[in-house]
């Protein structure tokens, strides 16, 4: 019972993270392997604010979303200045620098051992420490982010960004502010990642640097690619399918050192196979 609740909650948290990646990779076509880093900043923000009793959970989550939004804009800026491939380097780099910060800034982040005993979520004094109660929160937030994504894509603004991806020069020629459009999408994407991170911290009540390292970024990217980029359904289907995989691997009797690599190996195979045979993912549309 609790196992299923936990599975759904984590899959929902990753769905929000996948929507964040979707906005960058699918919608504006900026490659990103640093969404876990942003998510981590959100998680550490919420953890530190609630651990120190500076802010209640709800306010901390809003603040985390804001911080991540600004941070995501800063990280996306180089991609607007330099051609596509260079941004791969800055994206990899951002992820590695973030992990280095989480590990080395130990006075703030607890270093490699991470932060423990993070208070569970409560909204307006109403505690959500049971899994079933937390499920309500994560479902509502996933619904809210999905709704905002859907509305964003349907709006005239959404059509502009879709046009930018297809033919940027024409959009510039039509007098649209491409830079501002891309920055706005990055801001929304960052906010989603911040929310996902904050939920993660409150749900597990424990975070450490490995929860937000490059493997997690690749996991989120794989979820998106398998589900299907540029679609709402894909961003939700991918996490639910792929989060089942670690649970299945736990059932098999293999040496504990091989579990992590085996999981990453399967993700790698999925990435290659989907790119070769179905680059649009299960539900998606053409990528890039």
């Amino acid at each position: 019972m609790n196992f299923w609740l936990s599975y759904i909650i984590v899959a929902e948290i990753f769905s929000i993270a996948a929507l964040s990646t979707n906005l960058l990779v699918g919608v504006i076509g900026i490659f990103s392997v640093s969404q876990a880093a942003i998510m981590g900043v959100g998680a550490y923000t919420v953890a530190l604010l609630t651990l120190g009793h500076v802010l209640p959970f709800a306010a901390a989550l809003v603040l985390a979303a804001l911080i991540c939004s600004v941070l995501n804009i800063l990280l996306a800026l180089p991609s607007l200045r330099v051609a596509g491939d260079y941004f791969v380097v800055t994206s990899f780099g951002s992820q590695l620098v973030a992990t280095a910060l989480f590990i080395n800034w130990s006075s703030l982040t607890g270093g490699a051992s991470g932060l423990t005993a993070i208070p569970s979520a409560e909204v307006f004094g109403f505690p959500l420490d049971e899994s079933s109660q937390f499920l309500l929160l994560s479902t509502i937030l996933l619904a809210a982010t999905s709704m905002s994504y859907w509305l964003l894509m349907r709006s005239p603004f959404g059509r502009t960004i879709d046009a930018i991806r297809q033919d940027e020069v024409s959009v510039v020629a039509a007098g649209k502010d491409v830079l501002r459009a891309k920055l706005s999408v990055s801001a929304v994407s960052g906010a989603y990642a911040g929310v996902a991170g904050g939920l993660y911290a409150a749900y597990f009540s424990f975070i450490d640097p490995t929860a937000f390292d490059i493997n997690v970024s690749i996991l989120i990217l794989t979820m998106l690619v398998v589900g299907g980029a540029r679609t709402l359904l894909g961003s939700i289907m991918g996490p639910f399918l792929l989060w089942a995989l670690p649970q299945l691997l736990n059932q098999i009797d293999i040496p504990s050192t091989a579990v992590g690599p085996l999981r990453q190996l399967i993700f790698g195979i999925l990435l290659v196979a989907f790119m070769l045979f179905r680059p649009q993912g299960i539900a998606g549309r053409r990528l890039g």
């Binding site: 380097v89 780099g93 690749i218 993700f267 790119m275």
Partner: protein
Amino acid sequence: MLFLQLLADGLISGMAVGVVAISFSLVYATTRVFHVAHAGLYTLGGYIAWYATERGLALGLACVLAMAGAAAVGGLIQQQLYARLERSKASPLVMLIASLGALAILQNLIAIAFTPNILSFSNSWRLETFAIGPVTLSYAQIVLAIACLIAFFWLLWFTQTTRHGRRIRAVASNPLLAEITRLRPATVSIQVMMIASGLVAIPGVLVGLDQAMQPYTGTLVLLTATIAMIAGGIGSLTGAFIVSIVLSVLQTLSLAVMSGRWAIAATFGLFIVFILIKPEGLFRKR
């Protein structure tokens, strides 16, 4: 004196990064694929050589075997993955994600076969050192420096003067024209991948010999190498090699004042500033 010692260490590790950078640059200029799986081939080379020496093979032979193994896998990635994607008119983003997948496959196969723990070569002489004035170097470092310099000058000679090298440069500068003039870009691309993968195995083996190996360390090496390639100017092998050395020296020297993890962050920060100011690199030429 600490300064000279760090300078020497930085120079030598810079040559290793330099070989990664020039081999990556060769692939990138010819096939236009941002080949992140290159980091996996670097790692693969080291582990092949480790396995071979553990089975009693001499290091020289093990290194040749590692180069051949990496070249074969590299050629396979080009033929079975990148070439197929190119035929289906895949976007650069799709190519990149596929390459990332290939990297994950390589690294994790290695981690499953050899465990993710640190491995080091058991040769007795690799840690023996000798002193030149105030600087102490290990034999492994000397071998690494010589091999990487040979690799660099060989690749320069190969691409500048040989018939094959000129074909590669022709495909790099205009794939369509190369196709029309029957240079067969598809074959050339496979050759390029094999050469680059064989070359990247050299630092893969010898850095492993000098220090130690882990399945995932290649990613960071490749990141530094790509920074060097971009800062050196894409298409310039000499630029990529020199900037690799400069970066490594700076990184190593900074160890005197800050911890290793921060040094990476500092390098990367410098790169962002650089790329915003001078995106075409220092030594750009086509």
